[in-house]
Assembly symmetry: C2
Homo-oligomer: 151 residues x 2
């Protein structure tokens, strides 16, 4: 199977397959005489695994762990569960942040009459007020691996 077919079958773009290979997330494949990468059904399986983990917001680094756990049939499911729950934590903190942002903006927009008059509490708040809340101020550095879920 060529890289294009593997991409089609797995839902991971050819570009990304090469990238994953280059960073060592997947091993280097067998090549044809002409240098074409050749993929097996099993490789496609792995790629699909990766794509799904990606869809759940895992970073490539985390996925590397997941893949090794997946390959190691003896691994403790505890490790996987811990990773999943830690990731849920990150997601939930992120959700809370976004809800706070959205809430603040909605509140401001509700108090903006939206006509031609120059008064706008949104602008005024940005210009002079404290728009930030404790949680966003105190928020430690945390980030989701993927911004665009399906770019």
């Amino acid at each position: 199977m060529n890289i294009g077919q593997a991409a089609e079958a797995s839902g991971v773009s050819a570009k990304m397959i090469r990238y994953y290979e280059s960073i060592g997330l997947i091993p280097k494949t067998v090549r044809t005489e002409a240098g074409y990468r050749v993929y097996s059904d099993n490789d496609v399986h792995t790629l699909r695994f990766i794509r799904r983990a990606r869809d759940l917001g895992f970073s490539v680094e985390q996925i590397a762990d997941l893949v090794s756990l997946w390959r190691d049939r003896e691994r403790a499911s505890m490790d996987v569960k811990r990773m999943a729950l830690a990731h849920v934590d990150v997601l939930e903190r992120k959700i809370a942040e976004l809800q706070e942002m959205a809430g603040t903006l909605k509140h401001l927009a509700n108090n903006c009459h939206g006509d031609g008059r120059p008064d706008c509490p949104i602008i005024e708040e940005l210009a002079s007020g404290e728009t930030r809340h404790a949680s966003s101020r105190a928020a430690p550095k945390f980030g989701l691996a993927k911004e665009r879920l399906r770019p």
Copy 2:
């Protein structure tokens, strides 16, 4: 005021101030004979405005719009309101995505006994199942400007 003091006063790093200048978000400042950038209280005010908009998740591009609306007191507040509400939409879609991810992961983790046994539904789902849902599949390309809120 030097860039360092302006950074301190506004909460925007000196690095970012130079960057914002380089991309035209803020105008080029006056310089001293030695080439040092000089900032006024008004500049700091603008920088603080920018930082707050950033905290609310606006992209630099959107902030450029907001800043020009802010400077132009004759503009209709409607524009600002429209921008804010459009941004709320983006935030809420993002929230829904993250909630779905977190929900899927929690569901999987609940069904994972988490002991030493190798069976783990999380891994199994990733390996063979369809983890994606309609909303994430259908999700159009949309992204939030900022991944890390306070990096």
